[in-house]
């Protein structure tokens, strides 16, 4: 191997397509992908909503999410959950999970609102240019991460295991367990609810109006500030829910910078689906989860997952420059 080009051309050992393996494991890849994809989707929604209204990539949203995950861990630990799946009746497990979910939503929602008030509101009052928001967002993201770091240290929180997944049914020889089912169904239900909320309610109409022309929206009697806060709040609440599912899936995934990578994935999902579009976020999240898994099975190596995701993103954007469902939030017809 004397030149890189030669290496790429001749040494095919580092990229091999194993289609049979992918097909053998197709359904596993799909269901596993959907589960994580549902989490991406919920987080993606926060990006999409804020983007739709303020035209701004809320880079701190990943920290909104991870704050919720901390809340889940603390709540569940306080309720006695630990490294072993508890031996509790189903009802009380569900109750505990709902409690944890509420706690996470509360914390994430609060953090989202705080970020809005501290990092964005003052900029808005000063009519700052768009790039300033981006940097302020990055600053907020840094600050929250290192606040968590200084508080909790560089290690992930100890695992809290909520329940042992039970097989529910069998599709094409692949077993779908109760955990996967819970996550995917709950995520979809929540997203649909939000979608309907935005499409049908007065607040939703206000959100869309502010998204397009904040000044004129004000002239219609829309309270712009309230709309913006609501948007952050909704995004935060969903991120909180996502945090619960995330901890379910990765009981030891709660670490100060754990939101960052997931946040980028979720943001990618939002763009893939068409940023600003709620259904796009759902679709993008689920797709991205599956695509990553397919890539991994096809190329036989987890390190390819992200490469595959981004390549697919570029390909999709080349065909549909505004993402799959590419129109703006505002275009969701009532």
């Amino acid at each position: 191997m004397h030149t890189l080009a030669l290496a790429v051309a001749t040494d095919d050992s580092w990229i091999q397509f194993d289609w049979t393996y992918l097909f053998q494991n197709f359904w596993t890849a799909t269901f596993d992908g959907l589960t994580f994809g549902a989490i991406y989707a919920l987080v993606a929604l926060g990006y999409t909503l804020v983007y739709g209204v303020l035209n701004l990539i809320n880079f701190a949203h990943s920290e909104v999410f991870i704050s919720g995950a901390y809340a889940v861990v603390f709540t569940l630990s306080a309720l006695g959950f630990g490294p072993n799946a508890p031996n509790l009746p189903l009802v009380s497990i569900i109750l505990d999970l709902v409690l944890a979910c509420l706690a996470a939503m509360l914390v994430s929602g609060l953090v989202a609102l705080l970020v809005e008030r501290i990092a964005y509101k003052p900029l808005r009052d000063r009519g700052a240019p768009r790039l300033a928001y981006l940097i302020s967002a990055i600053g907020a993201s840094f600050a929250i991460q290192y606040l968590l770091f200084n508080w909790r240290g560089s290690n992930a929180e100890p695992a809290v295991i909520m329940f042992t997944p039970k097989p529910v049914f069998d599709v094409f020889g692949t077993i779908i367990d109760s955990q996967q089912l819970t996550i995917v169904i709950a995520a979809i239900v929540m997203m649909v609810a939000v979608d309907q909320f935005i499409r049908r309610t007065r607040l939703g109409r206000g959100i869309r109006a502010v998204a397009q022309d904040p000044d004129t929206a004000t002239l219609m009697g829309v309270n712009k500030e309230r709309i913006i806060m609501s948007t952050f709040l909704i995004g935060g609440l969903l991120a909180g829910a996502a945090a619960l599912f995330y901890v379910m899936k990765v009981p030891a995934g709660v670490i100060y910078n754990g939101g960052f990578v997931l946040g980028i994935k979720a943001f990618t999902a939002a763009v893939l689906g068409g940023i600003g579009n709620i259904r796009g976020a759902l679709l993008g999240g689920l797709l991205l989860g599956m695509i990553g898994n397919y890539g991994q099975y096809l190329l036989g190596d987890a390190q390819w997952t992200d490469v595959v995701c981004f390549v697919v993103l570029v390909l999709v954007l080349m065909v549909r420059p505004e993402g799959i469902l590419g129109s703006s939030l505002a275009k969701v017809r009532a």
Partner: protein, 236 residues
């Protein structure tokens, strides 16, 4: 009784003063017109009244209440509605949704339906195009939409910033007659117009604005026949 009163109002853009100690009033039931050259500060005045710009001096009273510090969206609730210069259509909301936005603060279903009928009567084109998105309407169609939307708010005070801009002649006439009609139904109107002739004929009273200062005031017809005004604004 004065529905709207500006007392000694000043407005700045940064260090540039756009409005200098302006005092005007609009009485209940009146049509008042504001005339001035490009850049005189008409739009600035309207935006300040609507609350989009903050005052650097003076006060605004509406319906007997000092609203100088009131947020813009609350002024809408109190009963004023501005059709901004450049129309301010929500480009990807449909025509129908745009009209709905006009009634954002209202909750009386029956009244809203009635107003919608009225708007569709005035502008049949809007009825035809209910589902088209606002941004793809032609310039003139957007202007109709903007006025229609303002009517949906059923305001006490209607602020119109150059409603005839970009309209075909027969529509300009229509707009003016609509303004008259709306006024007769009880809405007070403050009208900014470049179409000074018609505006002055329509208005009960008018102000002339030059570089941020009121220079003349009087009944519309009187100003319209004033030679100096004619020379400056009517292109005689």
């Amino acid at each position: 009784m004065a529905l709207l009163e500006l007392d000694d109002v000043s407005v700045h853009y940064g260090r540039i003063q756009a409005i200098h100690n302006m005092s005007i009033h609009v009485d209940e039931g009146e049509i008042v017109s504001l005339i001035g050259a490009n850049g005189a500060g008409k739009t600035t005045t309207m935006r300040s009244i609507a609350g989009l710009l903050s005052l650097s001096g003076g006060s605004i009273t509406f319906d007997g209440e000092d609203i100088s510090k009131t947020k813009a969206h609350l002024r809408v609730v109190k009963g004023m509605s501005l059709t901004p210069e450049g129309r301010g259509i929500f480009p990807s909301l449909t025509v129908m949704e745009n009209l709905d936005m006009g009634a954002y603060t209202r909750s009386d279903k029956a009244g809203m339906a009635e107003d919608l009928d009225r708007v569709f009567d005035l502008f049949p084109r809007l009825k035809e195009r209910q589902k088209q998105s606002g941004g793809t309407m032609s310039g003139g169609e957007q202007q109709m939409l903007a006025i229609g939307r303002a009517l949906m708010a059923r305001p006490k005070l209607l602020l119109l910033d150059e409603p005839s801009m970009g309209l075909a002649p027969q529509f300009i006439r229509q707009i003016f007659s609509i303004v008259k009609q709306v006024n007769q139904q009880g809405t007070t109107v403050l009208l900014v117009e470049q179409n000074a002739n018609q505006a002055l004929k329509l208005a009960h009273r008018a102000y002339i604005l030059e570089t941020g200062r009121i220079t003349r005031e009087g009944p519309g017809r009187e100003l319209a026949s004033d030679d100096a005004v004619r020379a400056a604004y009517l292109g005689a």
